[in-house]
C-alpha cells in the first residue's frame, strides 16, 4: 500500500496542553485507499491526534496534510473532504433515519437530488428501506452503527475517521461492520480507524501503536507479529504497551 500517494501525511506533530505533551512528535503517512489502524491504550494521545487531523484543534508544532490540505491553514477545506464517526454512537435520536441522512448530507453540501439517489442506494445496500421513517432511537444498536457509517460516508469523503466505531456490539455485528469498511475502502476511501478490539487490528492493512504520545510501532499486522515473535496482534500490543506510564 505504501507505494500509493499518501492521503494523510504527518511530520513531527506535537500537541501540548500546558506542561503536558499529549502527542509527542509523531510522523507517519497513510496511503490512499488504505485501512489504517490507529491503536493505543486510553490516554495514549489517540483522540488528540485525531482531533488535529480533523481540523478540530491546531498542533503546537509540526505539520501535516490531510486529503491534500494543510492542517494548520486549511482546516475548513479538510472538514469538507473527510467523514467522521465517533466512539459514542451519535446521530440524532429523535430524528428519523432519513432525516439524519438528509441533515448530514446537506451539511456536507450535497444537493437534494444527489442526496435522494445516494440515500436510495444506501437503503438498498444496507437493507434498511423499511426503517427509513423510523426514529433512530427505536432501531437496534447494530443498525444505528451502520447508519452512522452511512451518514459519515454519504458525501464520498477522501478519508473517513472512525473513532472506536464498534464499541458495545456483538462479534457478528462487528464482522458485518468491517465488511462495510472493506467495501468503502475498495471504492477508494481511506479508512483511519481506532479500536480497542485487537482482533479488528488484524483486518487493517497497516497498524500504528501509540504509547504515551509516541508512535512505538507502525507496520502491517503480519510484519508486526513477526517482529515481536507474537501469534496475535493482542500479544504485540501487550508487549509494546506494557511500559506505558499514562493510563486513565
Amino acid at each position: 500500500m505504501k507505494e500509493k500517494e499518501p492521503i494523510i501525511s504527518v511530520c513531527n506533530l506535537t500537541k501540548k496542553f500546558g506542561n503536558f505533551t499529549a502527542v509527542d512528535n509523531i510522523t507517519f503517512e497513510v496511503g490512499k485507499g488504505e485501512i489504517f489502524g490507529f491503536l493505543g491504550a486510553n490516554g495514549a494521545g489517540k483522540t488528540t491526534a485525531i482531533r488535529m487531523l480533523c481540523g478540530l484543534s491546531f498542533p503546537t508544532s509540526g505539520s501535516g496534510t490531510v486529503a491534500g490540505y494543510d492542517i494548520m491553514s486549511q482546516a475548513e477545506e479538510i472538514k469538507r473532504h473527510i467523514g467522521y464517526m465517533s466512539q459514542k454512537f451519535s446521530l440524532y435520536q429523535d430524528l428519523t433515519v432519513w432525516e439524519n441522512l438528509k441533515l448530514f448530507s446537506t451539511i456536507y453540501g450535497m444537493t437534494d437530488r444527489e442526496i435522494k439517489i445516494k440515500a436510495d442506494m444506501v437503503f438498498t445496500t444496507l437493507g434498511m428501506a423499511d426503517m427509513r421513517n423510523a426514529l433512530v432511537k427505536e432501531i437496534p444498536l447494530g443498525w444505528k452503527q451502520k447508519l452512522a457509517f452511512a451518514a459519515a460516508t454519504m458525501h464520498s469523503p477522501d478519508v473517513v475517521f472512525l473513532d472506536e466505531p464498534t464499541g458495545g456490539v456483538d462479534p457478528a455485528t462487528r464482522r458485518r461492520f468491517w465488511e462495510m469498511i472493506y467495501q468503502a475502502s475498495s471504492q477508494g476511501m481511506t479508512i483511519f480507524v481506532t479500536t480497542h478490539y485487537l482482533d479488528e487490528a488484524e483486518y487493517c492493512h497497516r497498524v500504528s501503536i501509540m504509547v504515551d504520545g509516541h508512535i512505538r510501532a507502525l507496520d502491517s499486522p503480519a510484519m508486526l507479529k513477526k517482529q515481536y515473535h507474537a501469534a496475535t496482534m493482542d500479544e504485540v500490543f501487550r508487549i509494546i504497551a506494557q511500559g506505558a506510564q499514562r493510563t486513565d
Binding site: C54, G55, L56, E76, K79, R80, I82, Y84, S86, Q87, K88, F89, S90, L91, Y92, Q93, D94, L95, E99, K102, L103, F104, T106, I107, Y108, G109, D112, L135, F161
Partner: protein, 348 residues
C-alpha cells in the same frame, strides 16, 4: 436546502418531537398569568362596610349610594356609633366609615379591621378613593395608574421577566449541552458548518418560540387581565424582543460553561431563577431592600426589564421614561453575546 435552514429545521423537529416539554412551555405562561392574575390576588373584593352618620346630608346619602353600587363593597347598613366595635370584633363588618358633622372642621373617620394587613391597606385605599370623589373634606391619598389596585397588573411584568429567562436561557443552554453530551456536537464541529451557523441555528427556533409566547402573554394581558391597550404596546414588544435576545445569549454563555444538562439546569436555576424571584422587584420591591441588595439587584437583567415593563404597561408612560432600563439591557445584551461567542469559539 441551505445548511442554515436544515439546521433550523432539525432544531424545530427536536422541539416538536419533545411534545411534553413544548406543551409545558406554552401552557406555563398562560397558567402563571391566570394564577397570579386571579387566584393569587392581593386585590380585595366584597369589603363589608357599615356607616355611622350623625347628620344626614345630600353628601352622606351620595357617598352611601356609591358604596352600595360599588362592586368592591357590600354595604351592610347604617349603625350606631357604639355598635361599630362589636361588629368589627365579631367579623360582621370589615370596615366602618364615620361621618362626623358635629363640629367644624368636619372630620370623617375610617375604622378598619387590620387583622389582615394587606386587606386593611387595600380596603382603606378603596374607601378613601370613594370618599375623596364626593367629599370636600380633604384626604390626600391618590392611587395613580392602577386605581383599583388590581394585582393582576403588577404581576404581568414580573411573570414576563421570569418566563423569557426560563424559556430562552434554560432551554437553549440545555439543548446545546445535550448535544455535547450525546456527541452530536462533535459531528457538527468536524463538518464544514461554521460554529456561528450552529449557534444561530440553535437560537432562531427558540427566538420564534419566545415570540409565540410573547403574543400569548400580550393577548392575555390586554384582554383577560384588562391592561389598557395603548401606543406603548409597541415599545413593550421591541423591548421584550431585546430582553429575549439577552436571555438567549445568557443561555449560550451557560452552555459554554456547563458540561452536562444537569449542571446547565443548576447553573441557570441558581444564577437566574432565585435572583429573579428575590432581587428583581417581581415580588419584593427593590426600593425596600437594604442598600447592598439594591446594588446587587442591578446586575439582574430581569430587574431592569420588569421596571421598564411596569413603566410602559402599567403607567403607560412614553419611551423616554425607560431610557435607562433600555440602555442597561442593550449594554448587557452586547456584553453577554460577545462573551458567549468568544467562549464558544475558543472552546472548539
Amino acid at each position: 436546502m441551505s445548511i442554515f435552514v436544515s439546521i433550523i429545521k432539525k432544531e424545530v423537529l427536536h422541539l416538536v418531537r419533545d411534545f411534553r416539554t413544548l406543551t409545558a412551555v406554552l401552557f406555563m405562561p398562560v397558567v402563571l398569568l391566570l394564577l397570579f392574575g386571579f387566584a393569587i390576588s392581593t386585590e380585595v373584593n366584597n369589603v363589608r362596610i357599615v356607616a355611622v352618620v350623625d347628620m344626614h346630608t345630600d353628601q352622606t346619602r351620595q357617598i352611601i349610594e356609591k358604596f352600595s353600587s360599588n362592586p368592591y363593597f357590600t354595604f351592610e347598613g347604617i349603625v350606631h356609633a357604639g355598635e361599630v366595635d362589636k361588629l368589627l370584633r365579631k367579623g360582621k363588618a370589615d370596615a366602618a366609615v364615620i361621618f362626623d358633622y358635629g363640629k367644624a372642621p368636619h372630620r370623617h373617620q375610617i375604622i378598619v379591621d387590620a387583622s389582615n394587613t394587606t386587606m386593611a391597606q387595600t380596603s382603606t385605599a378603596y374607601i378613601e378613593s370613594v370618599l375623596n370623589e364626593s367629599s370636600e373634606t380633604p384626604i390626600v391619598t391618590n392611587t395613580l395608574y392602577n386605581p383599583q389596585l388590581k394585582s393582576a397588573y403588577l404581576f404581568v411584568p414580573g411573570i414576563m421577566g421570569m418566563i423569557f429567562i426560563l424559556i430562552c436561557a434554560i432551554m437553549t443552554s440545555v439543548s446545546i449541552v445535550s448535544e455535547k453530551e450525546s456527541g452530536t456536537m462533535n459531528l457538527l464541529l468536524v463538518s464544514p458548518i461554521r460554529p456561528r451557523t450552529i449557534i444561530l441555528g440553535k437560537l432562531v427556533p427558540y427566538f420564534l418560540l419566545s415570540c409565540i409566547i410573547l403574543t400569548l402573554v400580550l393577548v392575555l394581558s390586554y384582554t383577560v387581565l384588562g391592561i389598557p391597550f395603548s401606543a406603548s404596546a409597541f415599545n413593550v414588544i421591541w423591548i421584550t424582543l431585546l430582553y429575549i435576545t439577552l436571555a438567549l445569549s445568557l443561555g449560550l454563555l451557560i452552555s459554554t460553561i456547563a458540561a452536562t444538562q444537569v449542571s446547565a439546569l443548576l447553573v441557570s436555576g441558581v444564577m437566574f431563577m432565585i435572583p429573579i424571584v428575590l432581587l428583581s422587584g417581581m415580588i419584593f420591591p427593590v426600593e425596600n431592600m437594604p442598600a447592598a441588595l439594591q446594588w446587587l439587584s442591578c446586575i439582574v437583567p430581569a430587574r431592569w426589564y420588569i421596571s421598564a415593563m411596569r413603566i410602559l404597561m402599567i403607567q403607560q408612560l412614553p419611551l423616554e421614561h425607560v431610557l435607562t432600563e433600555v440602555s442597561v439591557l442593550s449594554g448587557m445584551t452586547i456584553a453577554v453575546l460577545a462573551l458567549a461567542i468568544k467562549k464558544f469559539n475558543a472552546k472548539n
